[in-house]
Structure formats: C-alpha cells, structure tokens
C-alpha cells in the first residue's frame, strides 16, 4: 500500500496545487486517508501536516476513517426531498442502526447522503456502490439492503 501512495506523488510538483488531486487519488486507492499518508504528502508538497489536515477535513470527499464494504448514498437534493427522501434516510438509519456518515458494526455498510445527483426524475434515489435505485419506497428499503448482505441461510 505504501508504495502505491508514493507512486501517486510522482506526477505532481512540490507545491500545494496538487494537494486535492493527490487526496482524491489516495482516497480512491485506500478508501480513506490514512494518517501515514498525511505526513508523506506533507513532505512531498512541502506544506505542513496541519494545512493538509485542514483541507481534507474541509471537503466531504475525504474521510479519515475506513468505509464499510458497501456505500449506501441517499440523494437529499430538493426534488428528492419533496418526494420523501428524509423518510428513506430515517428508514435506512433504523435498518442499519447507524447515523448518516456512520458505518455499521460489521463494516458492511456506510450510510451517506449527497446534495443532488441530478437524476431527479428517479427521485427519491438510493445509490449503492454506484448502482442507482430510483423511486424508492420505504417498504422497499429492507429488500434493497438484504440484496447486499452476504448470502446466508434464511432463518425462517
């Protein structure tokens, strides 16, 4: 993993201009920004770790904690909002027993919201790992989550 991160740096010069690009790449590579990465980026870009920490916590795209196996994203744009997205979020929170931005104990799901996906015709939308599920209903949430759980014998 370490060598992976350093390889990313090669394309970027030693100044702050590349910071957000690098963070995007590290996030994509590792699924989060590991603490070791921050000090390495700091050395490469010649800016303080504090500055990097400030930038990465400012933007929603970066996380300091690893995510669950599946990311469940609910669009909470205005169109989805008036079509009942908040109730879908509530139902997911209940079903997964997590808050928004939280990860389930078994590390299977991370729940998040997004301001707008621009696919308003399909609202309310839930995206799981990039797959769109449009016109969601509260009664369909359970089924959707079950689909992503590892297969096990049903208990009856």
């Amino acid at each position: 993993m370490d060598t992976g991160i350093e390889k990313i740096f090669e394309e970027f010069s030693h100044d702050q201009k590349g910071l957000i690009h690098i963070l995007h790449r590290v996030q994509a590579e590792c699924g989060y920004i590991p603490p070791q990465a921050i000090s390495k980026i700091s050395k490469h870009l010649r800016i303080s770790e504090g500055e990097i920490y400030g930038v990465l916590t400012f933007y929603k795209a970066f996380t300091l904690k690893p995510r669950g196996k599946h990311t469940v994203t609910v669009c909470t744009g205005t169109a989805c909002h008036v079509r009942g997205a908040p109730m879908i979020v509530d139902e997911l929170k209940r079903k997964l027993s997590v808050e928004v931005e939280g990860t389930t104990e078994d590390n299977l799901f991370t729940l998040e919201t997004v301001n707008c996906l621009g696919a308003c015709a399909l609202g309310p939308i839930v995206v799981v790992d990039g797959e769109y599920h449009g016109q969601m209903k509260i009664s369909e949430v359970d089924k959707l989550i079950e689909k992503y759980k590892p297969e096990k014998k049903s208990e009856g």
């Binding site: 963070l23 696919a119 308003c120 399909l122 509260i138």
Partner: protein, 638 residues
C-alpha cells in the same frame, strides 16, 4: 514537437468527415445522460449494436449513445433518425422488435410511443411531443445528435467554425464587442453581462491570465450544466477558447463537481481530442494563439461554486471566499487576472459568434437575452431539462411543457435559484421568467433549478431544508453566516417539531437581516432567502405550525400521526406486515389499529395501503390529538 494543424488542414478534415456522413442513413440514438444511465441505457445501446451486427445491418444502420435529450421522465429514450421517431421507456425486450418492425419494415410500434396525457393521442415524432414543442433548443439542440466522446460528430455539425472565425477574422476587441452586443448574461446565477466581464479582464495588464469554466453545479435540483458537459462538451470548450482569445489567456480550467463522474470523463476525453485536432495547445489552427485547458475535480463543498472559493480550491486550499474587490478579473487565480463563467454561458458563446449578436439579442426580453435551460423537477409530470426563451411564463413551463402536477394535485409553489432562491407562489404563475422578474418576486434565476411543489409540500419544512443545507455548507469564515444560519435552523426545527413560540417569525427575520449584511460571499448573503420569500407568501403555514401545532401539508413528523380509518380498512394485513415497529395490530378481514406509542412514523403503512383502499391517512392538529387520545384509551383498556 508536434506540428500544429493549420486551418486549411482542419477544414479538409471537416470535409473528409462530411463525406463519410449520410444524413439519410438510419441512426439509432440512445440518450446517454445520467438519468437514462440510471435506467440502464448503456445496456440498451449495447444490445442495439449487438443485434444490428447479428442482423448484418451495420452498413445501413448506425447506433449512437448521445448526450441528454432532456426528457428524463421517460427514459431510456431512443430516437430513430433521420425521421425523429421517438420511443420511450425502451427495454431490452423491445430491441428486436424495433429493428424488425421500424427499421426494416418502417412500421411504428404503438406501445413505445409517448401518449399525450391531455389528448390521449399517441405521438410519433420527437419534435411533436408537447414536452419539446414549446422549447427553443439552441444550446441544447445538438445534444441528441452528438456522441460526446467523438469530436467528429461535433465537427460535422459545424463545430469549431466559430473559433476559426475568431482567430482569423476578429480581434479580441471585436469579439468582446460582439458578446457585449448580444446581451449575454452569466448563467450561473447573478446574471452579470458576460462581455463586460471579459472586457474588464482584458484591460488588466498581465503576462499571465486564466479562464475558468465553473461546472461546480451545486444547487440541488439543477443539472443542466452537467448535461451540457456530458452531452456536448466541445461547445463548452469552444466557448472557452473564444473567451481565452478575447482576454488573451493561455491557460484554462474546468472545475467539475466530483458527483458528476460522467461529466468529468466526457470533458476529459473531449479535451484530448481537441488537442489532437490542433484546437488546443500551441498555435491553435496554425495561428499565433496558444491555449490549453485542464480539468479539476471538486471535492464536495457547495461553497466552492462561489468564484473566489473555487479558485482557492484549484490552488489546493480550503474553499474559503475572498473579499471583493479586487474582483477575479483583476486578481484571480494565483493572483492573476481571471475570467470565470458558468458552463451554460460558455456553451452560448460559439452560437453567438456563428449566428451573430443580433440574432441572439432577438431572443428573449429587453434585459434578459437568449434562452435559458431549466431543470424541471419535483412534483411534476414531465421531469427533465427544458430550454426556453427568456420571458416565457412560468405557467407555460410548468403546465404546457411540464405537463402539470403529478397525480393531479394542486400546485403550491415553484422553487427557483437553489438555496439562494425562493419559492414562487401560484398567484405569480403568469410572471415572465427573466432575471429581473424573479428577483422582484423574492427569488433569483440562479443556475436554473425549478423544483415544483404541490399541496403535500410543507413550506416550513422546505425552508428548514434549505437553511440546514446552507448551514452545513457554510465554510465558517464569517460569523453571521456560521452562527446565524445555525440559529435559524434551530428555530425552524423547533417550529416543525411543534415547539414554535410567539416571536419566532420576528426572530427569523432579524437573524436574516444580520446574515445578509454580515457575510462576505453569496452563500451567506442569500442563505436566508428561502425563509424570507416563504414568509412573504406562506406566512399562514408558519402560523399554523406555531399557534395550532399543525402542519397543513401533513409533512412534519412531530405534528402528524398515521391513522387507519376503521370504515375503510379491509383487514388485508399488508400494513401490519410492513410495519417495522410492530405498532399495528389486527387480524385478517378485521380492522387494523396503530398503537401511537409504538409508531415511529416511517410512513410504510401509508405507502403500502392499496390505492383502492386508502385507509391509512395522516392527521394533524386537533385531529391528531384526538387520535392520540383514543389510542391511549385503547391501550389502557387492554
């Protein structure tokens, strides 16, 4: 070094491309916008390709995944050119039939046609569908004909003609004069005259200047910029090159939201192709003008749509806004003069150069020229992107193009301008859409989101939604914005919870005033707008929440209860089975009852109760209190 492609060579390439094009050849165009993507359009277009190959029709039929057609409601959309036969909601099973019936036998498949809900008439051709009929698709017009990943499609339709005219027949002054004469105003929200902005930037002496395309389309419910960048990226790029020539910039940036992966992909491909064709880089088309464009992906911060914040973000810093003046045109990116415009503004530029300022100025109203793309979403029948001339009436957009309100509900308001805008009520439906009228109504044009709300939308909840949004997205630099929006959210939340107090409305107005006057950037200065316009037109809803503890639209969770009407319930067990809180009791064919103490108000029962039965209802105010009381009594009896 690579030798640049001269204008002559480029025009030769164009005529070569045109030679290979047969306008009479059948072309299956599949809409490839994000909306249709979600419906599975890529599978549809691949299946078309496979099937056509299987039938050996490759020579007589082309298949193309194009940019967004706009009518997202009916995706996946397939249009058969050159006739323009419009098939909607096309599924995998339909493909064989389309090929054998329509392509081979020239027969129309009735089942796939769009039915006008008003006249019940089946419509064959795309241009006759009411959704498109009243539109004036200029900027958006080529989306349906272009494969955005193939520059040749754009060139075949006359693309990059404007840049050759600019480079070889116009000076930077005449370009700016032309744009100024057209009256083009920025499509990003504020509506500043584009030509004027360019002129200011051109006049600042500097060896380095920058051009930026703001594609950080953050307003929820607005997605026209994404569609343009996804569907016709070259028109945006051409616009930027023209702008760069006018102000003499050598470097440009497209700053795209990270939530738009397809836009990032398509614009990156387009830039690569433009470079290959000598349209970017050193000596563009053999001239002495050098210019190139880079893509920067946003990182999920709404405030980075604000111009000075956006530049901070490109520089790799936190997206904090800066005090203006100095304006970006004087001191922008890395302290250099920078001209920044929105995607739609850039996309308009090549058309103005090609067809002339006079033509452009003939569309629209006195002060708002040209067309504007709106995303018509929410409780509307025809969700989609519409391009209309400025000055069209709201009613025409919502009823004639949008097909009216979903499920025949009553129209309540249309929200424009995103979190900086406001809700326009029914009594203003006949107002023309232009910059000034919308501002006068208490809203703004914004980037073009139009979220339609019906009688089931609670205006206090909508205001709370927007304030929560701006509160969360406030960068925290200015105290009135950071703390003030938090206070407003707290008050609004209290009101929606039935804990509103006398004086809350005045407190909201007070806070709004402070936030507006004490914030540095547009985010704070406009954050209270949704509340202020709401109070202007829907004060009664606030008062109902505060005084009667009632949510007239039955939205606010704490003010409603779900109730099964005994005379309607058929005892089908559906709600009982779906209740996650096991709050419903009952037996087959016997009336079901909700235990209000256990109910979590998820709405699942309301959702699953069959439409024919409709026994579950939402009650609020006095009725709710009665239901609660009865439920408690029933409990005690047990």
């Amino acid at each position: 070094m690579k030798k640049s492609i001269s204008l002559e060579v480029f025009e030769e390439i164009r005529s070569e491309i045109l030679k290979t094009r047969d306008t009479q050849k059948t072309c299956v165009t599949v809409c490839g916008g994000t909306g249709c993507h979600a419906y599975g359009c890529l599978i549809v277009s691949q299946a078309f390709k496979d099937e056509i190959e299987k039938e050996g029709l490759q020579k007589s039929v082309d298949v193309k995944t194009t940019g967004c057609h706009g009518f997202c409601e009916r995706g996946p959309i397939v249009v058969l050119q050159p006739e323009g036969i419009f098939y909607q909601r096309v599924q995998l099973d339909d493909i064989k039939e389309i090929i054998s019936e329509t392509i081979k036998d020239k027969k129309i498949i009735d089942r796939l046609l769009y039915v006008d809900p008003k006249t019940k008439e089946k419509i064959i051709y795309e241009k006759e569908v009411p959704f498109y009929k009243k539109q004036e698709r200029i900027v958006f017009g080529n989306n349906g004909f272009i494969d955005p990943t193939d520059i040749k499609d754009y060139i075949a339709l006359g693309g990059y003609k404007a840049i050759s005219e600019v480079l070889f027949d116009m000076t930077s002054e005449t370009v700016i004069e032309e744009i100024k004469a057209s009256g083009l105003r920025g499509r990003g929200g504020a509506g500043f005259l584009a030509g004027k902005k360019w002129e200011i930037c051109r006049e600042v002496p500097s060896d380095v200047k920058y051009i930026i395309c703001n594609a950080d389309e953050g307003d929820p419910g607005a997605y026209m910029d994404r569609s343009l960048l996804e569907g016709n990226p070259h028109s945006v790029i051409e616009g930027m090159i023209i702008g760069a020539y006018a102000i003499n910039a050598s470097e440009g940036y497209v700053y795209v939201r990270r939530e738009y992966p397809l836009a990032v992909k398509n614009v990156t491909i387009a830039l690569g192709q433009a470079r290959k064709y000598g349209l970017l880089g050193e000596s563009i088309l053999g001239s002495e003008f050098h210019f190139d464009i880079h893509v920067v992906q946003g990182a999920g911060a709404f405030v980075s749509g604000e111009e000075t914040s956006l530049m901070a973000s490109i520089e790799g810093r936190r997206a904090f806004p800066k005090q203006r003046p100095p304006f970006p045109a004087q001191e922008g990116l890395w302290g250099k003069p920078t001209n920044i415009n929105n995607v739609e503004t850039w996309a308009n530029v090549p058309y103005i150069i090609n067809k002339g300022a006079e033509w452009f100025a003939s569309i629209g109203t006195k002060k708002s020229k040209g067309t504007k793309i709106f995303s018509l979403v929410g409780k509307i029948n025809n969700t989609g992107l519409v391009e209309v001339p400025m000055g069209i009436k709201l009613r025409e957009v919502i009823y004639d193009i949008g097909g009216g309100i979903k499920n025949n509900k009553k129209f309540k308001a249309v929200q424009t301008g995103g979190p900086s805008g406001g809700c326009i009520p029914a009594q203003l439906l006949d107002s023309p859409i232009d910059f000034e009228t919308l501002t006068k109504a208490g809203s703004i044009m914004g980037s073009g989101g139009m979220i339609v709300m019906d009688e089931d939308t609670c205006m206090v909840d909508v205001a709370r939604y927007f304030l929560e949004f701006t509160q969360e997205e406030s960068c925290g630099k200015c105290v009135p914005c950071r703390v003030g929006t938090r206070q407003m959210v707290d008050i609004l939340t209290r009101i929606t919870q039935g804990k509103g107090e006398e004086g809350d409305i005045e407190r909201l107005e007070d806070l709004a005033e402070t936030i507006i006057s004490g914030s540095l950037c547009g985010l704070g200065q406009t954050a209270p707008n949704p509340v202020l316009t709401n109070l202007r037109y829907f004060k009664d809803e606030y008062e109902a929440h505060i005084k009667e503890k009632k949510c007239p639209a039955s939205v606010c969770k704490d003010l409603i209860a779900y109730y099964i009407e005994p005379e309607k319930c058929v005892g089908c067990l559906l709600c009982l089975k779906n209740c996650p809180a096991t709050a419903i009791s009952g037996e087959r064919k016997k009336v079901h009852v909700i235990d209000q103490e256990l109910c979590v108000k998820c709405g699942a029962c309301f959702d699953v109760c069959p439409p024919k039965v409709m026994a579950v209802s939402k009650v609020t105010g006095r009725k709710k209190r009665r239901v609660l009381k009865r439920s408690l009594e029933q409990r005690d009896r047990k």
